[in-house]
């Protein structure tokens, strides 16, 4: 009941705002005095920390833009809706943003499940959406392999980490003999492995062993013994921290000294607690590193304004907003269709790397990842690294 009242009040308020903003011009879309941008994400529930950080970042950026005179001579207005981490709520929020609030584009959500579910609505009303940290390949490409015309994202997809790991290992670390241990039952692990293999072989490396396991396994020694016999320089471990901790410890127990490489499933307190010694000297591929000097200015501005730590999502929301801003300027119009066209034309220097979206799959092309090395039980930022 309370929720309904809130909703009615907020809808009324929005109407009132629209009326005053439009000054009775009658056609609010793109011809008012403001450009409206929608944001959706979790403001309540498990992922509220991330959603709050995203919406705060977007608010901060809109204030900055408006202070400088806005976009195309108009002020920018942000409208923020909570999806409660639920796909159905996300669909409702998008409908409301488009049909009632007349937004020209939407930023968010951060979760793949919600980002996938809103495609149909976006296509119906022809309004673009830029997802923040939705890494599942299906967010921008449908089951039929065709790109979804109105879904975009600024993060790289899961499997791309595999290509980055392979390139970095081969070119920067000079490791040429790789062994892979992967989770045969996980899309994430399989995609990661597939991209790693392809890039690693292209770069002149050799896959000397490839062994699988299933989620829930706790003993990897049979596979690792076989890997040891193949004498690799590096072992790729593209899975989550629990299995990483167990398999890294068991690898060291068996006397394997190869360098270990992993992805964004690694970083966690528990990994350090369980396997700090075994993963010493390992490399991790991640979206971004908090200690990268290039991300510091945004981090500090955010902390100064909200007195909260910046999450990964905030950086992604920042880049999504910058991309949208560039697209609106490029289109020199606030028409959703024209913005959609411009989204794949512009190139933006984001805090998480250079962002240029591909026309084929609406993913960022050759986006840089942060390479982190584990030294003295700490994550030490090495450099940004991307593949073209």
């Amino acid at each position: 009941m309370k929720k309904n009242v809130l909703l009615i009040v907020s809808v009324l308020l929005i109407f009132a705002m629209m009326l005053t903003a439009c000054g009775g011009s009658g056609t609010p879309k793109a011809s008012g005095d403001t450009i409206k941008i929608g944001w959706i994400g979790s403001l309540t529930g498990d992922q509220a920390v991330w959603g709050t950080c995203e919406s705060n970042t977007v608010k901060m950026l809109i204030e900055e833009v408006n202070a400088k005179g806005g976009l195309l001579g108009k002020q920018v207005e942000g409208i923020y809706y909570d999806t409660k981490g639920d796909a159905a709520e996300a669909v409702n929020a998008v409908k409301r943003l488009i049909t009632q609030d007349d937004v020209v584009a939407i930023i968010g959500p951060n979760a793949s499940g919600q980002a996938i579910s809103i495609s149909a609505v976006l296509e119906q009303y022809k309004v673009p959406d830029i997802a923040t940290v939705a890494t599942n390949p299906k967010v921008t490409v449908g089951d039929d392999g065709k790109v979804k015309p109105y879904n975009f994202r600024v993060c790289f997809i899961d499997p791309y980490q595999g290509a980055v790991a392979a390139g970095y290992a081969c070119d920067k670390l000079g490791l040429k003999n790789a062994a892979i241990l992967y989770d045969v039952a996980s899309d994430y692990s399989q995609g990661f492995t597939e991209f790693f293999e392809k890039t690693f072989i292209e770069k002149g490396g050799k896959i000397v062993a490839k062994e699988g396991f299933k989620e829930g396994d706790v003993d990897f020694r049979p596979q690792l013994s076989k890997i040891k016999d193949a004498k690799p320089d590096l072992i790729l471990m593209p899975y989550y921290y629990k299995e990483v901790a167990l398999s890294a410890n068991q690898a060291r127990d068996l006397g394997i000294n190869a360098t270990l490489i992993g992805g964004d499933g690694w970083p966690s307190e528990q990994l350090m607690e369980m396997a700090a010694k075994s993963i010493e000297g390992s490399y991790v591929v991640n979206h971004l590193d908090f200690n990268d000097p290039e991300v510091k200015p945004l981090q500090e501005a955010y902390r100064a304004k909200y007195n909260l730590p910046m999450e990964l999502n905030g950086y992604m929301a920042h880049d999504a907003f910058k991309l949208l801003e560039a697209a609106i300027i490029d289109a020199s119009s606030a028409d959703p269709e024209k913005i959609t066209e411009s989204l794949t034309k512009v190139t933006v220097e984001g805090v998480t790397g250079t962002i240029k979206l591909s026309e084929e799959d609406h993913n960022p092309v050759g986006k840089q990842a942060a390479i982190v090395k584990i030294e003295n039980a700490d994550y030490i930022f090495q450099e940004k690294y991307g593949l073209q």
Partner: protein, 294 residues
Amino acid sequence: MSELFLQQIINGLSIGSVYALMAVGYSLVYSIMNFSNFAHGGVIMIGAYIGYFSLTFLKVPFFIAFVLSAFGSGILAVVMEKIVYRPLRKRNAPFLYFIISAMGASIFLENVVIASPIGPTFRSYPTVFSSEPIMLGSVALGRIDLLMFVISAISLMVLVYIIEKTKIGLSIRATSYSIKGSTLMGVNVDKVIFIIFVLGGLLAGLAGMLFGMRYTVYPQIGNITTKSFIAAVFGGLGSLPGAVIGSVLLGLIETMVSGYLSSQYRDLIAFALLILVLVVKPTGLMGKTTEDKA
């Protein structure tokens, strides 16, 4: 090549010895009560948590943690028997009911842990031993593996001694042949069942703690015991030597398949072999009776 083979034998024996400690618990209960006590996995899981909290919160020495974990699980097993199985036994319920209750108890224990402040996350035991393996040439022998092997061997020998040489053992053996017959001969069946659950529980505690040390502690540990149950069936349910042999064989087969064929075929081949053994010899490798047991 031969070093890899030797390493895989060690891996297999180490995995097999964990299965063995768990499988014996299944076989003990089965030999008397003729049903598969799936709640055993839950008891093992609780044992692992008792060991974990003894070491981290109570900060007791390692040996004391073992004792606490074994006794805690022993008490839990007896309590489960009193609450879950005794009422069924008094009513002469069919064996199927026992199995269903056991599964229920297992799910109950798992969810109690998940819902409690302990939560669903996995936890790692503090390092008790140096993880530096003992190197024999290039073949690595883990210290925990060695400990596991020794503890498994000692506790199984003690168990065999109890069953073969003591008076309680005699009544256990008698009851396993015929509950009715031994009751007529003056054996207190309730007491025998009590002892069986105590022994099974003690072993579950040891197994849980060893498992937790080697791997981690999490509410779904019980799922791993499915493998040890299979091992018990493989060796012949109700036979203690069968449980041990079945476990070691399953451990070795798994490692050899992973090591020489592909890890994807591990479960496929292990379970195909199980079915083959059961087709040829329905009572398992060491099973003696052919009567219909659930």
